[in-house]
Amino acid sequence: MSRKLKIKENAGNGGLLKRTLIREFKKDDLARYSLYILVALLLIVFIGALFIPKSHYLDVNIIDQYLAPMTDGHILGTDNGGHDIITMLIVSSRNSLTIALAVTIITFVFGTVVGTVTGYYGGKVDMIVMRMTDFIMILPVLMIIIVLVTIVPKYNATTLILLMSAFYWIGTMRLVRSRVLTESQRDYVKASKTSGTSNFKIMFREILPNIASLLIAEATLSFAGNIGLETGLSFLGFGLPAGTPSLGTMINEATNPETMTQMPWTWVPAAVVILIVVLTIIFIGQALRRVADQRQTN
């Protein structure tokens, strides 16, 4: 009898989260509309991309090069490889979003685990990890990534993801560490220890749920950041390899003043898509952070 009773009630905790989320998004129009736009965009991009054969965006067709919008059925015109801008937009968005998502997940998981362990145990473990991360923090990370991109053999999208994650997990780690540090000073952690609960369980079943909503809000904002990072690298020419288009590579057209001014349709749509995606994620992240703050107080 009790098992059933308890499960229903535990949903209470989940229910509580659902109710706060719904109330927050209902109240905040900016976040709500952002959610609709982002979901719509993601659907178009990820489903659309399935129907686009590789040839559409790889084979070069000089004749159709730089067609202005609304010519030969190309609503937004074509780029220097003669590819239709809309197709390019869909494929590039899929690539950029996948990379950014992968980096966010890796940095989030790795950062949370290391942050929790150092925050909880403190002492030597904490000192070593902090010295190490302090050192990485002083390195010119962007420069090093660019150099590594140029010298790593057999370079592909996965290498880019690993390279970006290798340096950008530290931000999440430090945030998680500081929160876990304060939580583990509170008496309920001491009480769990004297109640015989293992350190592992205390970290991941007692402490993490208390900071989970904050982490989700931070992960959303870092997702926006990672999109900027990947597309930026690709814009400079050190992001995704040649065969895989990214929103950044589309914007790269603007580096040549002549194409920037004469053929804006080649890069402006990509810039607009990046801005929309990032803005919607930021507004959603803001709403999530408010939910996290509320859950801290109640």
Binding site: L30, F135, M137, I138, L139, P140, L142, M143, I144, I146, V147, T150, I151, L221, A224, G225, I227, G228, L229, T231, G232, F235, L236, G237, F238, I251, A254, T255, P257, M260, T261, P264, W267, A271, I274, L275, V278, L279, I281, I282, G285, Q286
Partner: protein
């Protein structure tokens, strides 16, 4: 006070060593060497091999490291492959440009961020506060290079208000005209960088003010009869500015670092743009020098921050 600074210097020494080792290994991983640029169709391979032998490229790696670090100590960072001049002079010339641009950007950033933070904190919860919060979270999340592109596209190329590259127009002469012209070239990149760079300072200062105003010593000050304005300036603000002072060390040393995206997009010949040209030209000696420089500047920034904190915060000064 000195204990803090000496401890920081002691930490810096191993960090510098590891940094130089890392940069050296990075350089070793890069294909080619100073002489690969000279290989033309008719150069004699034996001659190149002799040059390499003379430069000690075949010695064991740690010998090369000591040789390299020895030179670096005396400012000799080797020859630039592509630009046929010593790396140090090349960096020296570009660093001046970067310094002035970053300085202007820094001044504008603080001039924007501090009043924003103070007005937002003093009207906490108002519409104005919310607008500033949204503005700062947007500028924090948005990829800066996209905004740089849009700004140069609109204000540079289309409207032509601002120059679209270089540091000064060739035909300008005389001290003041060149100065004005130089600033004219820096305005657009500096303003854009400032507009997008306020978030850190704004957030720190705003939450700092909100925290400090609930502290007991503010109640004590009011109980002493101190007027509201004086409570704000002498008590709340002074305490809230501590974290800003703390990261000022990094900001100052960052002035010499160079902004890769901004300088490349605005065509401004600073260290950032130099890095991209060096990468495209596979000019590895310039690349390694720039990475070493930036790492060193960051270390210096940490030392400077500690010194500033020790001066500003008595709790650190008098342990």
């Amino acid at each position: 006070m000195w204990k803090v600074i000496i401890r920081r210097i002691l930490i810096m020494i191993p960090q510098l060593f590891i940094l130089s080792l890392l940069v050296f290994l990075l350089a070793k991983m890069m294909p080619g060497d100073p002489f690969s640029g000279l290989i033309g169709p008719n150069t004699d391979p034996k001659q190149i091999a002799a040059l390499r032998q003379a430069a000690g490229l075949n010695d064991p790696w740690w010998q090369q490291y000591i040789h390299w670090i020895g030179n670096a100590m005396h400012g000799d960072l080797g020859m630039s492959y592509t630009m046929k001049q010593p790396v140090s002079t090349l960096i020296g010339s570009r660093m001046v440009n970067t310094f002035w641009l970053s300085l202007l950007a820094m001044i504008l950033t603080y001039a924007l961020a501090i009043p924003m933070a103070i007005s937002a904190a003093r009207h906490e919860g108002s519409l104005w506060d919310r607008i500033l919060l949204i503005y700062n979270s947007v500028t924090f999340g948005i990829p800066a290079y996209v905004v740089y592109l849009l700004f140069i596209f609109i204000f540079g190329f289309t409207l032509g208000i601002f120059p679209t590259g270089g540091t000064v127009d060739p035909n300008v002469s005389g001290f003041f005209p060149t100065l004005i012209n130089k600033i004219y070239h820096m305005i657009l990149p500096a303003i854009t960088m400032a507009l997008l760079g306020t978030t850190a300072i704004f957030t720190y200062l705003r939450s700092g003010i909100l925290d400090e105003q609930n502290q007991d010593y503010v109640k004590t000050a009011r109980a002493k009869g101190v007027s509201e304005d004086r409570v704000f300036t002498r008590h709340i603000l002074r305490n809230a500015l501590l974290p800003i002072a703390a990261n000022f060390g990094f900001v100052i040393t960052g002035l010499l670092g160079g902004a890769i995206f901004a300088e490349t997009i605005f065509g401004y010949p600073g260290l950032g743009k130099l890095f991209i040209t060096a990468i495209t030209g596979r000019d590895y000696s310039v690349i390694t020098a720039l990475i070493l420089l930036n790492g060193f500047l960051a270390l210096l920034g940490a030392l400077l921050s500690d010194i500033i904190m020790a001066i500003v915060d008595p709790r650190i000064r008098i342990e």
